[in-house]
């Protein structure tokens, strides 16, 4: 067996063990934990990038290393690195729990990396649960226990329900196709989609990932969890875990080979309801993290448009959109961590005067929300453009029109964020906000990436397309 194929996973396993060791030392030292995490995250990202060209099958063909999986591992490692970078102000978690926090973060990333490579239903389920259980605990770690427990319990209960639904769907698929290998399912399913058992099986199997992605009707947890979890944990749930969900949704959707109008119709309905519910609820939010949560629900709807197109262009668009989500959401949370301070929650009105307190953070926030709204030239626009084009190529013109109307609705609350940061003046003097150099550097980097991927996305699109074509 060729162990180099597993290098990213092995590295993150080692990193998890390192934090396990640190957590047993018993002496709290946030500085040491933070630096260790940043260094390990950077090395992990480097290893994933180096492993992109690897190809191979492992464990009796249940585990596949291909461009698709390696692309997503790179995205996951990048997300992990960015999230640990904004852990410089991890005051939302008690100091003695910092090593455990990083341990769970690393373990969850490891599980998601396994997830995107699994091509057999059983390890797929196990990997999903491993990542979920790390996250359930991560949400509890909030210093303010009342908030943490409420969020953790919501997340756990809805997550467990979604898992139960999902494994039922997987069982139906296994029963229909007599195999748990995705490759076998791919040949068997397209001819059987007219059977209710198979169509419902696929839909239920997708449910577990709808939960991760916060697609209607599995979205109820998002606002409470975002609000109650430590900022960094919420950021992780909003970005890294969604990237993995997109990956597996694409893998499962690709199983059907594009056939099955019942399935497509169901996904169209879910996409429309998700976008609309998310955007309309976001209109009335006051808390920044709740706003982010509802905006995530709407964004999940846009991603679904790429997936339901069931074409390689649509999958490529969804992959690009996953990257876009990662960049945009991390930027928002970076600004939140720096502007709120002390790990407290922040109202949108709390952004008042940000343009004076820290011009670069205000600029980063503005670019991020314009990107979330899909205004060119930003990475978010390119993502929307790709998924919409794929959808229209499959004849979903009215779906795209509805999505664009949603974009206009969403613009209102995104503009309210810009208004808070640029127009309103704070009550009382607000000191200049001197973010640490790493945060500032990261903000410049994210703004540059947002704009560059909007102006010249060619290499990224080519990469995403190549990864998607490998699936078909």
């Amino acid at each position: 067996m060729n162990w180099t194929l597993l290098s990213p996973e092995l590295f993150f396993l080692t990193a998890a063990l390192v934090f396990l060791g640190i957590s047993m030392s018993g002496r709290p030292d946030p500085e040491r934990d933070y630096i260790t995490a940043v260094v390990l995250g950077a090395v992990g990202l480097g290893i994933c990038l180096a492993c992109v060209p690897l190809r191979g099958d492992l464990f009796l063909g249940a585990y596949r290393v291909d461009l698709f999986s390696q692309t997503f591992k790179t995205l996951l490692a990048m997300g992990f690195f960015l999230i640990v970078c904004i852990c410089n102000d991890l005051t939302g978690v008690a100091e003695r729990h910092h090593p455990e926090f990083y341990l769970l973060l690393t373990a969850s990333t490891l599980a998601l990396m396994l997830l995107v490579s699994c091509v057999h239903l059983l390890p797929l389920y196990v990997a999903l649960e491993l990542s979920s259980y790390s996250l359930y605990v991560l949400v509890y770690l909030r210093v303010d226990l009342r908030q943490g427990i409420r969020a953790g319990l919501t997340y756990f209960l809805i997550g467990a329900a979604a898992s139960a639904v999902m494994i039922f769907g997987l069982a139906l698929l296994y029963g229909a196709a007599q195999s748990a290998y995705l490759a076998d399912l791919m040949t068997a399913l397209p001819g059987m989609l007219h059977q209710p058992m198979v169509a419902i099986g696929v839909l239920l199997a997708l449910a577990g990932f709808f939960f991760k992605l916060a697609v209607f009707p599995f979205h109820f947890w998002a606002p409470d969890v975002y609000q109650g979890a430590p900022h960094q944990a919420a950021a992780y749930i909003a970005t890294v875990s969604k990237v993995a969900a997109v990956a597996v949704l694409i893998r499962v959707a690709a199983l059907t080979g594009g056939a099955g109008s019942f399935l497509t119709d169901a996904l169209v309905a879910l996409a429309i309801v998700s976008m609309t519910v998310g955007n309309l609820s976001a209109l009335v939010q006051k808390d920044f993290k709740r706003l982010m949560a509802y905006s995530s629900i709407a964004q999940a709807g846009y991603v679904l448009i790429g997936i339901l197109s069931m074409s390689s262009a649509g999958y490529g668009g969804a992959i690009f959109y996953a990257l876009a989500l990662l960049v945009m959401k991390v930027t928002c949370f970076l600004v939140l961590v720096a502007a709120a301070g002390g790990g407290r929650n922040m109202e949108i009105a709390g952004l008042a005067g940000l343009h004076r307190r820290s011009p670069i953070l205000a600029l980063a926030l503005m670019m991020a929300v314009f990107s979330l709204a899909g205004i060119p030239p930003t990475i978010g626009f390119t993502g929307k453009f790709l998924v919409f084009k794929a959808a229209i190529a499959q004849g979903h013109v009215s779906l795209v029109l509805i999505a664009m109307i949603n974009v206009v609705i969403s613009l209102y609350f995104y503009l309210m964020v810009v208004r808070a940061a640029y127009l309103t003046e704070p009550q009382g003097p607000q000191p200049a906000l001197l973010a640490p150099p790493l945060t500032r550097g990261l903000a410049y980097f994210l703004v540059a990436l947002t704009v560059l991927a909007g102006i010249y996305p060619t290499p990224l699109i080519a990469w995403a397309d190549a990864a998607a074509r490998g699936l078909m």
Partner: protein, 493 residues
């Protein structure tokens, strides 16, 4: 330099580079050095004006067609190209943008608050405008459309006046609702063509689309771009936005941005869907005529100077729409000329009113009076703008409106006479506004105010001379536009 090499130099990209260079230079200057920022803005916007005027003159009218072509693959897998070119349609618009941009920067010379951000956003906006006018790739047309819109929110909400946040939000939501119709229409056309290209010239070959596809897409494009062109009943953002915006932004906005809408209908809608154009022309004519009459009549009731101009813009943009709706060479010539003439005229209007407002702190017609005695120069600029607005001969608008009305009388006699009637009414009213603000007994509170100093007079003088020049020599403009319109009509199936 040999003529060929001269023609191959990417002048159009250089024009964009001037805007982006200006933007970067402003961003790199410390916010406290406001004088330096203003000079940087003036120099770079001046360069833009020189380049756009140079392109207008250097265009070879006898050869016609697309010139200064730049074409590079951008996203080959999707068929997106960096494709810019100049023709008789966009050269007047580029020139207009150059003029209005430079004069708007000079008009804002006295700005004190958040100078750096203001000029940076203005440069970003104008980059989008220039890009849209010169691009022949549908993807870039859409991108530039949005780039030119989203700085507006901050420009109005931060530096504006009357109900600025409401006006800014309304404007942004309306205009992006327009883009919500444009993007699906563009994607629909590109997918239906099956050519896997966003190249406008490739897609406009006859027979690419079925009549049904053209009708469907044209309606979306007309409504989407029409919102920005102030087509009735989607015009309500425009007076509110104009009134709320600071002077320089009102100038760019009414002078250039609304033209993007009309230009988009022409460049994307009419170019790609001629059958849809002919099918929907009666509807366009009806909405345009309602806009002309409605704008003129509502303008009658306004007591705020900026609202008067705002509604006159709705009315004048209706004339552009009527010209486009005639489906004739004359109508198209007149429409494009009117876009140019109205842009310069309305920029002068806002510029003159802006100065009066900065000094007197009022825009109410009733509170002004005798301005021709207290500020003779400012009043003179205002009067020239008013005369242009009502279409006095020897000023640019006269020729444009004349061409549109001649064409309209032939095709839609009823609409044509209604529109002319409405203009006569509005002329009477505008003259009454002029009389009540510039003549009559001066308001004693305002007599001590200074007149326009020479530096601030420069932008207004430029605008007046452009109006007079093209009023005396309309052939310079009409010949240019004709190189494109005649060729376009000959190419129709």
């Amino acid at each position: 330099m040999a003529p060929m090499a001269y023609a191959r130099f990417p002048f159009l990209s250089l024009l964009l580079l001037c805007c982006i260079g200006g933007l970067l230079a402003i961003l790199c200057t410390p916010a406290a050095q406001t004088r330096r920022i203003k000079w940087i803005s003036a120099v770079f916007s001046g360069l833009c004006l020189v380049l756009s005027a140079g392109l207008f003159i250097a265009y070879d009218q006898s050869a016609g067609g697309l010139q200064f072509v730049e074409k590079f693959p951008w996203v080959p897998s999707l068929g997106i190209t960096w494709f810019n070119a100049a023709d008789g349609f966009n050269l007047p618009m580029l020139l207009l943008t150059g003029i209005v941009f430079f004069t708007a920067v000079l008009t804002m010379w006295e700005l004190e608050t958040r100078v750096k951000e203001f000029f940076a956003l203005t440069f970003l906006l104008v980059t989008g405008v220039f890009g849209l006018f010169m691009s022949l790739d549908l993807f870039f047309i859409f991108v530039w459309y949005d780039v030119s819109l989203f700085p507006m929110y901050l420009l109005i909400a931060v530096w504006g006046s009357t109900r600025k946040e409401y006006g800014a939000m309304k404007l942004t939501l309306y205009l992006l609702a327009g883009s919500a119709l444009i993007l699906p229409a563009i994607l629909y056309l590109v997918v239906q063509a099956g050519l896997s290209t966003f190249d406008l010239t490739a897609l406009m070959q006859p027979g690419t689309f079925t009549p049904y596809q053209e009708k469907f897409a044209f309606l979306l494009l007309y409504l989407g771009f029409g919102i920005l062109a102030g087509v009735w009943p989607f015009h309500t953002w425009s007076p509110v936005g104009h009134v709320a915006a600071p002077t320089g932004v009102s100038m760019i906005h009414a002078g250039v941005l609304m033209k993007i809408g009309a230009f988009g209908v022409l460049r994307v809608g009419i170019f790609l869907c001629p059958a849809g154009w002919q099918h929907w022309a009666p509807l366009m004519a009806l909405l345009a005529t309602i806009g002309i009459v409605y704008g003129a009549l509502v303008g009658l009731r306004q007591t705020d100077l900026k609202y008067v101009i705002g509604y006159s813009s709705v009315s004048h943009m209706g004339i552009v729409g009527l010209g486009l709706a005639t489906v004739t060479v004359d109508g198209l010539n007149g429409a494009v000329f009117q876009m140019f003439a109205h842009g310069v005229m309305t920029a002068l209007f806002f510029s003159a009113v802006g100065y009066i407002y900065d000094r007197t702190h009022t825009k109410a017609v009733a509170e002004l009076g005798g301005l021709s005695r207290t500020m003779p120069v400012a009043a003179a600029f205002f009067i020239v703008a008013a005369l242009t607005g009502i279409g006095v001969p020897c000023l640019a608008s006269f020729w444009a409106e004349l061409m549109v009305f001649i064409a309209a009388f032939r095709v839609y006699p009823l609409y044509g006479s209604l529109a002319v009637g409405a203009l006569v009414v509005s002329a009477l009213f505008i003259l009454r506004v002029v009389q009540r603000t510039c003549y009559g007994p001066p308001n004693q509170r305002l007599t001590h105010l200074p007149d326009i100093p020479p530096l601030l007079g420069v932008p207004r003088v430029i605008l007046v001379s452009v109006i007079v020049f093209f009023g005396l020599f309309p052939a310079f403009m009409v010949n240019m536009i004709q190189t494109a319109t005649v060729a376009f009509f000959n190419g129709l199936p």
